[in-house]
Amino acid sequence: MSNPVQGKGSDVLDSQDQVRFEALVLPHLDAAFNLARWLLRSGADAEDVAQEAMLRSYRFFPAFHGGDARAWLLQIVRNTCYSWLDKNRRVREMTEFNEEVHGTPGATPEALAIEGDNRERLTRALESLPPRYREVIVLRELEGCSYKEIASIAEVPIGTVMSTLARARRQLQAALSHPAREEAAHEL
């Protein structure tokens, strides 16, 4: 897969590329947003970052020489998300990490544990994982990607995908059975 962030991009595609872009890349807009949402743990940030990623994919589309368009787009989304996370890490650690994401004040571990809402529980557990674990779960379980696709999106060997998934699932299961203990999960 060609590196999407290299090469000179154009601002407007010629009509043939425009048609190809709309047919191959745009259908994966939902996948782009979903991945960004989970990597950034915020819908509002995901809108900004996924939009930036879509624009990059548009500019660099002439360098896309066929193959798996979804994996190509998601690789761009992922890279854009990690750049954003790097840039915003300090600010986020001081604010969002403690409040918005990891429980509102008053939501005691006991309250969380007995909370019946499965979706809420899973969301919290998944968000407590480090991004590299979160992304393999999202790509495999929500996006239905094959190991090969995950390998090309995350730019790792296929064997690493399997072992990362194994660790990610174990941590997710642990977070689900002991929501409070996983609060100490690290960023990146």
Binding site: P27, H28, R37, L55, N118, R140, L165, L176
Partner: protein
């Protein structure tokens, strides 16, 4: 966990990523490994829990619009749905008035009004579906994949069949809204054209196909065995007739 395969090969097996030989070998191991058997149950439970929780984050409409305006600037502008609703309300109000008139008028009036409204609505839905990213929620040419996809998303089970051999390859399906209710939309290819077939349950009696054209699009609508069907395309009217026969068969 003391079995080392629990943290490695088990996942490849669970994800269908092992080749046939590897899978058979692991199954032999699985038959006598308690750790792996238990862990496999755990993985299945986790997956089904994720599945029912619907964690896939819905793309906000405003975001979609913003992105499309930047990377797909020449898309046709859609008709504002609000105005259309008012027109339908007007039609409905007229029909209600007619209902207080004579019984005969209402029986004809309703049919005409219903068809006009339905045709406008399904053609809108058809146009909407042609916008990038809107056409298909479940991409598959396999009816056995598309049909179960609707399970749990609709309160009925639409008939799904592939007619690739007859020149109408099934391309997938999605949920849509017609007549203020969730309906199944099946997408078929017809040469270079796309056909949307909207399906929803009805209590009315079977009716013969009624067809028409509007804004350059053809539609055909019929009821059969408790289901109402409406097919729309920019393909030839004869194509739609052919597809209607195939679906009814």
């Amino acid at each position: 966990m003391s079995c080392e395969q629990t943290e490695t090969v088990l996942h490849g097996y669970f994800d269908n990523e092992l080749d046939a030989l590897g899978a058979a070998e692991f199954e032999r191991h699985l038959a006598q490994c308690f750790d792996c058997t238990e862990a496999l149950q755990g993985l299945k439970a986790l997956r089904s829990s994720i599945g029912v929780s619907q964690l896939y984050e819905k793309t906000p409409a405003a975001f979609r619009k913003k992105v499309l305006s930047e990377v797909s600037p020449r898309r046709p502008v859609t008709i504002a749905p609000a105005r259309r609703n008012w027109r339908w309300l007007a039609v409905a109000a007229t029909l209600l008035l007619l209902a207080y008139g004579t019984w005969r008028i209402v029986s004809f009036g309703r049919a005409d009004g219903y068809e006009t409204r339905l045709a406008a609505e399904v053609i809108d839905a058809h146009l909407r579906s042609l916008q990038p990213g809107h056409l298909i929620d479940v991409v598959s040419t396999d009816q056995h994949t598309v049909k179960p996809w609707f399970d749990g998303k609709l309160d009925f089970s639409p008939p799904v069949r592939d007619f690739a051999d007859q020149g109408f390859p099934l391309q997938g399906g999605r949920l849509d809204v017609v007549d203020n209710r969730a309906v199944a939309a099946l997408v078929y290819g017809r040469r270079k054209h796309l056909v949307n077939v909207f399906i929803w349950p009805t209590n009315e009696r079977d009716t013969a196909p009624r067809s028409g054209s509007r804004q350059g699009y053809q539609w055909v609508e019929w009821r059969k065995s408790g289901m109402e069907f409406c097919a729309v395309s920019d393909s030839a009217a004869s194509d739609l007739g052919e597809l209607q026969h195939l679906i009814d068969r």
